[in-house]
Amino acid sequence: MRRYVAGRLLQATIVVLLVTTVTFLLVHLAPGDPVSHAFERPGVSEAVRQQWRADFGLDRPIAEQYARWIGNVMRGELGYSVSLRRPVADVVAEVLPRTLLLVGLSLALSFALGIVVAVLQAEQPGGARDRWFGRVLLVLFSVPDFWLALVMLILFTYRLPLFPPSGIVDPVLYDGMSAGARMVDRLRHLVLPVATLTLLSTAAISRQQRSALLEVMPSDWMRTAMAKGLSRRSAVRRHALRNALLPSITLAGLYLPALVSGALIVEKVFSWPGMGLTAAEAITKSDHLLVTALVLVTSVAVALGALLADLASAAADPRIRVR
């Protein structure tokens, strides 16, 4: 088991390194640089611009910039965001938890919801219930992310004003609220983004869980279970599910990048100030350091998440755990 963990950790590290290097290169190929975006004003002389670029180290050869950046990252210094006029580390520290909350909640909910639906489907494969759920899920799987988000936005904030349309807290009233009211306010702002992202993810996750269940159902031990006198339904819920869960956990971890992509769109529609939204804006402003840092953090988070899922699945599998 220990060797397994070590091996996976090594893999994850390599992956993160590769990703950040490529991102760094890509970002630096962008025409435009932070200086021109952030400080552009009419009448600025070329000499001043050059000075700014030198100040930010943007005139050095790319290899040197990369080396310096890696060194800084190791030390925890992520640089300065020119578009937001704040240290990158501060920005990341602020937006990371928000996206983590969004993504984490959605993942957990989709997983749970997915299992329920998958089990209901697997009890009678090919039956009416299976096919109906399958169609609904396929539609959810095929709908454009932003479209669903917009529909949710319009339905639940505009047509039926149940929830606030944007932000994480009420911009005007929050400061004056009591602790309890603040909690409620935060929750109200969470509902729609999480619900949207969950709906989008459940489709994919549930389909995978159903497949995993159907894969184990022809196993010999399922036949044994039924020969013992279990009903088909109990056999699926007790025996098949336990087995199918193991790969499902790992594979949910693999789904994280897609979840983050979806979060990006949801953040944009609901103006949820998380990593995705910040990254999108930073890209348009060519804020190299911020973009690279955000992509780095995202990759690390995703790689860690996938690793954790993998390890959890291994820990739950007696065949791996007990030797």
Partner: protein
């Protein structure tokens, strides 16, 4: 005569596949008495496993038990039962022991859990009671340190031990009938003997009837009082064990006996039966064994043989019962001839 425990009459189990209808079990009838151990012998593909699954109604689509089949157990019509009532029977009154102990056990549950589950299902046992029962059963099947073993997972046990666990699972509710489908085929030879002995011993003590399915005549000789020989979805011979070995009638049975390796026997090559079993989607007309039979004649192609009475309790599906003089004129079976000409 007392009512038999299990009566199978005219069982037909067909599979409706893309390649046609596979008549896996095509008119099988037999019975098992209380406390009896009956053997069912045949090559793979003869329908014996499907028969076993049919009894417990575990045949899934595209297979189904055809109307006209009758299965009676303890006087009740099994086919007329609701699914819930059938679940009551499975594992409780009739238990099954499968062939591959490694895959028959769920890898993510402990052995104790899986044995105890039977008690939880049928005796409404609490977790603790079920666990205690599991340990008791492990002791019964001769597994040392049962308290410890109960907490282990299937992959931690050897093949022989796993099969003991499977037997333990089958015996929890003290069923009236155990169907053992090739219980030792996947095990080492030395372990095979142990397991069979265990099974025989326990069933004798508990008075359990056993339907022992195997392809190994040696197993049958040691453990069964009566034998049913199956071929191509049908029963081709039925007799007491003694009668079968002393006075086998059907040419297929003769072939099987001739193919048995015998310790201390002559060092000749094992006689094999030329040819292979025909496909269940396409049983030949007339006698299904005729292409491989050294005695067949025109009648065998034209007329499907019924089960003839040879002696008391001995039947055989062969026209030789009607025209025994034909036995004096053996010839190379048609299948062998075909094989020779193709070379």
């Amino acid at each position: 005569m007392t009512t038999p425990l299990l009566e199978i009459e005219n069982l037909h189990t067909y599979f409706y596949t893309d390649n046609g209808v596979a008549r896996a079990v095509d008119g099988v009838s037999f019975s098992v008495g209380v406390g009896e151990t009956v053997g069912v012998v045949g090559e793979s593909g003869c329908g014996k496993s499907v028969t076993a699954l049919s009894i417990l109604r575990l045949v899934r689509p595209p297979g189904r038990i055809e109307p006209g089949s009758v299965m009676r157990f303890e006087g009740r019509d099994l086919l007329g039962l609701e699914e819930r009532e059938m679940q009551h029977v499975r594992g409780n009154r009739i238990a099954m022991v499968f062939q591959e102990p490694m895959t028959a056990l769920n890898p993510v549950f402990t052995v104790g859990d899986q044995i105890g589950e039977v008690a939880r299902i049928h005796a409404n046992a609490s977790k603790r009671e079920a666990w205690a029962k599991a340990i008791e059963m492990l002791k019964l099947v001769g597994i040392p340190a049962p308290e410890q073993r109960a907490g282990e997972y299937p992959h931690q046990l050897s093949g022989g031990m796993r099969q003991r666990v499977v037997i333990a699972m089958a015996l929890v509710m003290n069923p009236a009938l155990i169907i053992a489908d090739e219980p030792t085929t996947a095990l080492d030879v030395t372990i095979q003997a142990q397991i069979l002995e265990l099974l025989a011993d326990l069933t004798r003590r508990l008075g359990t009837s056993v339907l022992l399915i195997t392809h190994d005549l040696g197993v049958v000789a040691e453990n069964c009082t009566r034998v049913i020989v199956m071929y191509a979805g049908e029963v081709v011979e039925e007799a007491s064990t003694v009668d079968l070995f002393a006075r086998a009638h059907h040419p297929y049975t003769e072939g099987l006996l001739g193919a048995m390796p015998r310790v201390g026997g002559e060092k000749d090559r094992l006689a094999t039966i030329p040819g292979t079993v025909p496909a269940p989607t396409d049983w030949p007309k007339g006698c299904r064994f005729r292409d491989r039979c050294p005695y067949s004649w025109e009648r065998c192609a034209a007329e499907h043989p019924p089960l003839y009475q040879i002696a008391g309790g001995h039947t055989s599906r062969c026209h030789l019962a009607d025209e025994p003089e034909r036995r004096q004129h053996p010839h190379p079976p048609l299948a062998a001839q075909r094989g020779a000409s193709a070379a």
